[in-house]
């Protein structure tokens, strides 16, 4: 594969027998032992993902918060040092430039973790719109490695390797400390719907940390690829940029309204359009559905009612834990009620499906 970027773990993936694919310009493992086995490992025990392709930006300076508030949908004024917040970066139309997580590193210093495929676009967009603010933007992506340990056994595997007290780390909080003797930032975050951690480290230390976690979790943890990452996030109803959210799908349509602080006093790019959309009511929205007829819906397939196109599938697959053929659809508002039946056009044939409640996977309370 020519001209694809590689993470510091490329050799490790090849040695593990991974099937490598082009993902947003990166040569990444889509699976090792198999998507289904890796998916179940994360739900039942643990899985380890290489997500070093993600982008990490630092925004710092006396007006760093102002930059975030101009560019992002969330309200960061009450964010504490050590806390992570999810937000969307919008165009003036309300469509999304990207979705990302903001880590408050210090007063006036934030780390933005962005999607790999959007990194360059995001950097240019932020640079353009922070002009005049007393803040600087630094791209640390190339110097940063990132692995995600996910699943119910992740605390048991990671705790012996780190001086950070993982039990006292709440969801969406992070701490700095040592992992396998190396300086790391560990956050209780992930993209699977399971509990778990993301470990940020120096690019040069990534292989040591990856190997060390696999060794510590031997017999329990499986290396897991992008295929399982997608099926896990899908069951947990987490959006994937380019599918449930993109430049033409607003966060309100995507069902992400709770991350959009329309009541914030200062304006962010896209706020006006989103406030208008909310006031006028949505004409379409993302919903989950289950196939009734025999077939698997895939992204881009048209959905129809009485032969008329009323939307399209944004993600679809046989959901490994739920055990059903499920999908997300961007569908006209009038057909978005739970229980509404419609057809998915699968390779020329109309197959029946029905809107169901999400998330597809209901986790038992602990």
């Amino acid at each position: 594969m020519l001209n694809l970027k590689r993470t510091p773990l490329y050799e490790a993936h090849v040695a593990l027998g991974a099937k490598m694919v082009d993902f947003g310009g990166w040569e990444m493992p889509v699976q090792y032992s198999g998507i289904v086995a890796e998916h179940h490992a994360v739900r039942n025990e643990a899985g380890l993902f290489d997500v070093s392709h993600m982008g990490e930006f630092i925004v710092k300076g006396p007006e760093a918060l102002n930059v975030l508030h101009k560019l992002l949908t969330a309200d960061f004024s009450k964010q504490k040092i050590g806390q992570c917040m999810y937000a969307i970066m919008c165009y003036p139309t309300g469509g999304a430039v990207d979705d990302l997580i903001v880590y408050k590193m210090d007063e006036d210093e934030y780390m933005l973790v962005v999607n790999a495929g959007n990194k360059d676009k995001d950097f240019d967009w932020i640079t353009e719109h922070m002009q005049g603010f007393k803040a600087e933007l630094v791209d640390q992506s190339d110097e940063t490695g990132l692995v995600a340990l996910q699943g119910p056994k992740s605390v048991a595997i990671l705790q012996p390797l780190t001086d950070i007290s993982l039990d006292s780390l709440k969801p969406y909080w992070f701490a700095k400390g040592k992992v396998l003797g190396k300086d790391c930032l560990v956050s209780r975050t992930g993209y699977t719907g399971e509990e778990g951690f993301e470990v940020y480290c120096a690019a040069a230390d990534t292989a040591l940390i990856w190997d060390g976690i696999l060794k510590e979790g031997e017999g329990v943890v499986l290396p897991a690829g992008l295929g399982a990452r997608d099926s896990l996030r899908f069951e947990a109803k987490m959006p994937l940029y380019g599918h449930e959210l993109d430049e033409n799908i607003t966060p309100l349509e995507a069902g992400l309204g709770r991350f959009v602080a329309l009541d914030r006093e200062d304006d962010f790019i896209g706020k006006e359009a989103l406030a208008k959309q909310k006031a006028e009511g949505l004409s379409r929205r993302i919903r989950g559905f289950e196939m009734v007829g025999r077939g698997i819906a895939r992204a881009e397939y048209p959905v129809k009612k009485d032969g008329v196109v009323i939307g399209h599938v944004t993600s679809g697959m046989p959901a490994p834990t739920v055990g059903k053929n499920l999908g997300n659809v961007l569908i006209n508002q009038e057909f978005s009620e739970v229980g509404t039946e419609f057809d998915v056009e699968i390779r020329g044939k109309d197959i029946k499906a029905v809107i169901i409640k999400t998330p597809f996977l209901k986790k038992e309370a602990k």
Binding site: I35, V36, G227, S231, G295, M317, P318
Partner: protein, 127 residues
Amino acid sequence: MSFPSELKYSKDHEWVRVDGDKAVLGITSHAAEALGDVVFVELPEEGDAIAAGEAFGSVESVKAVSDVFCPVSGNVAAINEALLDAPELINSDPYGEGWMIEIELEDVSQLDELLSAAEYEAFLKEE
């Protein structure tokens, strides 16, 4: 991966087992492995007429869907209904219990265009 020598192969990664004027078809172990865990199979109906080069069904993994092309023309004589409930047979036994359809050959000369096991293996190395 194995490629039984008694079978013929297509460049679209299907295999063909000829038995008189009928032939049984499936996908090769190479195709099954490339796709990963097969979780869903779509097959034609008995009696359907299929032209050489046409898709007669599909195999799907969690991640992807692949059409399966028919390298020969004819009517579908039988389908492997076991695959509808146990699609994983395509991974576990691609040349045996993972067979997909049986077809009544319309033109046996179409078989000449298929590859031998050795030719198919050489083709895979080039690909």
